[in-house]
Amino acid sequence: MDLILTAFVEMAQPFRMLMLVTGVFVGLVVGVVPGIGGLFAMALLIPMTYNMDAYAAFALLLGMGSVNTTSDTIPAILFGVPGSVGAAATVLDGHAMAKKGEAARAFGASYSASMIGGVFGALVLAAAIPVMRPLVLYLKTPDFFAICAFGLSIVAMLAGSQPLKGLAAAMFGMLASFVGIDKIAGIDRWTFGQIYLWDGLPVALVFLGLFGLPELASLLLRGSIQGNAERPTYAGMWQGIRDTLREWPLVLRCSSIGSLLGAVPGVGIAVLDWIAYGYAARRPGSGPKFGEGNVRGVIAPESANNAKEGGSLIPTIAFGVPGSASMSILLGAFVVHGLVPGPDMLGKNAALTMSMVFSIAVANIVGAVTCLVLTRPLARVAQVSAAILVPLVVTFIVVGAYQTNMSAFDFALVIGVGAVGMAMKELNWPRSAFSLGFVLGPSLENYFFLAYQISGWSWLAQPLVLILLGLAVVGVIRQTLSWIRARNPGGPLPPALPDIAAGTAMTLLALAALVTAATGFPFEAAIFPIITAGLLLAFSLVTTVRTTLRWRRRGMPSASAPDMAPGEWSPASEPTMRGNLAIIGLCLALALLILLVGHLAATFIFVAGSIMVLGAKSWRPPLVIAAAATAFVYSVFDMLASQPWPTPWLAGIGRIF
């Protein structure tokens, strides 16, 4: 009790509170803008804390880190573009709600869930203080593997109406995650001689392309976010908050998932987000199906991803082992302030640890309230014409992507993944299953080999491992049984011919991966890719054969009646090729402009130009919007996150002559 009081008094100082609030606002901006993650912002803020006292420093850093998972839902719900990797799961139902005119409700639900989750995570951290060290020491490497395997079994929940495709998508995701230099044998896998690929495909870029670009294509076709749905009302926000309160058991369970998994090193926010979503998908409750705008699909990931901040501090404070990537940067702040993670943080410096709990809790409350206040204007964005929104969102996706590595490969990757995402969306290959496979692949492989090197196979007999693996198997069996029972779900199926083509392409890809892995990689580096590629081969081959049979039986492509709304697990019902091509064209144009004239001039030319092309009545509004967009890009990517941009080609040519 004394401890809490001391921490409270220490934090009550005006400067420290000011730093906390500053951190929160920086964190909100960082969360909204795709491409800049909390990780990068943390690295930028650390040097500013050198001259502060430790309380103020951690208030600033944790304030920033706690809330970017609150505001990253704004672009996720409005545009289907995840503001950070932690918002990808929110896209599915949150954006579907916005399309139905329920943006305000989705915001209300997501902010309140974020707030409760965040405070819950802080309380878990506080409760863990006395037992932190034994707790972290109790979990051994095999347990980490079992946790990841259990996480992967959630894929079964995400597989949707064509389960084989869902499983294939998950394997495809895992296969994609193996690109890069492997950690065990140290050889490069499928990098094609490109240094760019050594560290694997960047998660942030993959999610931006996979979710953001396909949603933009359908936005362009609809004309505005909510199309013809009714006007959003401010009351929707309160309804969303009531939804969260009504679903309190779900909120608490997903907050627990977030804070507990947050404490496991290697299980990042991208993973626990999908696990919470899949968990909620098991019991959809009343309302629309998952993926078509079920509010539980917003509440679950949002409560989990805010709860992780508290959880991932546990191993960081107790042992100096970062529970997440941004925690490894926070660790730098520990040393700067002469703090040694370990027993001291729970004894001599316990008041400071308590102040971190306080910072996380307050930051989550301030962040959520700020976002709630902004809901009314934001929900109106749902009615703005797509001709204005699409160029702006494309700009943020493309500039944000370029910011990751400042390489032309960034463009190629985000656009390429975007094209894959469009095909997956249209042909009912669930992108959610792909994502879970993609984020879990490396941890599964790495923990497996660590466990194997440390104790051979004997770790399989450890109690926690047995329980977790058992749960995973039971879950998968139950789901399989329910698939067999509902043999012909009768949902709409995508057009057969493109589906056969995609299935065949996937089968060939799997075969190529299988052969190259089996012949080119040493055993340790080959085994996981071989298993994954083998499963992918089997799943996609069976799907392709079944689609072919269906096509031949009917004699013609089956464009079955769209009796349900298009969503994550039902194919698109309108012709979308035109929208897809338009979005890819816009991205390519902007990418080229950025390479030619630099990101600022490119933003101006692109926004003004494409708004005019997409249909503006006069020339003035496009120029004003373009100028505002350029100013915003400048303030975020050059002032807030100041960094050296590569010289544009034209400037390079100018310099030579």
Binding site: T141, I195, G266, S328, G332, H337, Q453
Partner: protein, 334 residues
């Protein structure tokens, strides 16, 4: 026709001439505008933190007092950045790179991936020159050199190209030690935690400042590289125990890099005056009380700088040994 081309191109020609003149003038009095320090690792690690600190201070010691910004270019344990420095980065002093000291012999150990000439790099200076250790947890019961070499236990390492692996392999292969090396940990903190959990017993190639928090829970077994151990403890040097002369020579070759931990480099074509200005500024910075105070906050790392000239000399010595020693070194750290 020819005259026309000549007339048209006269404008640009004059411009080029002007630029060349301007560049010569600049070369005489080096003045820095803005400098970017690129770090070959992701945010948060030792290389990133020290680079951000250097960015705060180095500008004060350079002509023109440039602003210095930091950018992370992670990939392949800084191999990616090293290749960029040798290939595409501007050679005008506007980009400095913070890469692993192991880059000086990467082509020797991994000729396939690291196909470059380390001598082409221009070294600016390095922060730390101190030995590395093998250490075990107190709970493991392995507390002497003999037990370390004779017992059957596990040593943790990160990737195969990391110092934690290279130095463990050096002991294992050079001294026929019986331990096994477990690879795949995330960093030294992760290895240490596994030691505390009792899953593995030790780690190698680690500097003392990496483990400042848990010194009492660790046994220091032996050292790599020259120089006294921390706290004046009497420890044996592993390479001294290697009997085969050629193997010992190979081990010493690998140890050389410990003398220039956390180095900075600039691209090959950087003008001599610019390199000299950077080297001079660097050596002034490492004596500056404000810089040392900041580094002191960062960790208990003792700054013991090596000048760029010295590093270049060490690297060329390192690469002068015969190809058979390279071959031995390759096998030693396999």
């Amino acid at each position: 026709m020819l005259a026309m081309i000549f007339r048209v191109s006269r404008g640009p020609l004059l411009l080029v001439a002007g630029l060349v003149l301007a560049m010569c003038a600049q070369a005489q009095a080096v003045e820095f505008q803005t400098i970017t320090i690129k770090v070959g690792y992701g945010p948060g690690g030792g290389y990133d933190q020290t680079s951000r600190l250097i960015a705060r201070h180095l500008g004060r010691f350079l002509p023109g007092h440039p602003d210095i910004v930091v950018q992370n270019v992670p990939g392949g344990g800084s191999l990616k950045l090293t290749k960029m420095v040798l290939g595409s980065e501007p050679a005008d002093g506007s980009v400095i790179a913070s890469v692993s000291e192991a880059m000086s012999y990467a082509p020797v150990l991994d000729p396939q991936n690291a196909n470059f000439d380390p001598l082409a790099l221009q070294w600016i200076g390095s922060l730390v020159n101190e030995p590395a250790y093998c250490m075990t947890s107190k709970g493991s019961g392995i507390d002497t050199m003999d037990k370390f070499l004779q017992s059957d236990f596990l040593v943790g390492a990160t990737g195969k190209s990391s110092v934690t692996y290279i130095f463990a392999a050096l002991v294992k292969n050079g001294l026929k030690a019986k331990f096994k090396i477990v690879t795949g940990f995330d960093g030294t903190a992760d290895i240490e935690l596994a030691m505390q959990r009792g899953e593995i017993a030790g780690m190698c190639g680690v500097s003392s400042y990496n483990t400042s928090g848990s010194r009492d829970a660790l046994n220091l077994i032996g050292t790599f590289g020259s120089g006294p151990a921390v706290g004046g403890e009497k420890l044996e040097r592993f390479s001294d125990k290697i009997e085969d002369i050629k193997v010992r020579e190979a081990a010493t070759l690998i140890e050389t890099t410990l003398q220039f931990h956390h180095p900075l480099v600039v691209p090959p074509g950087t003008p001599k005056e610019t390199v000299e200005a950077l080297r001079k500024g660097y050596m002034e910075m490492v004596k500056d009380p404000a810089f040392l105070a900041d580094i002191g906050k960062l960790s208990e790392m003792a700054v013991n700088a090596t000048s760029g000239e010295d590093i270049s000399r060490l690297v060329s010595q390192q690469l002068k040994v015969g190809p058979d020693v390279f071959e031995t070194a390759r096998n030693l750290v396999k």
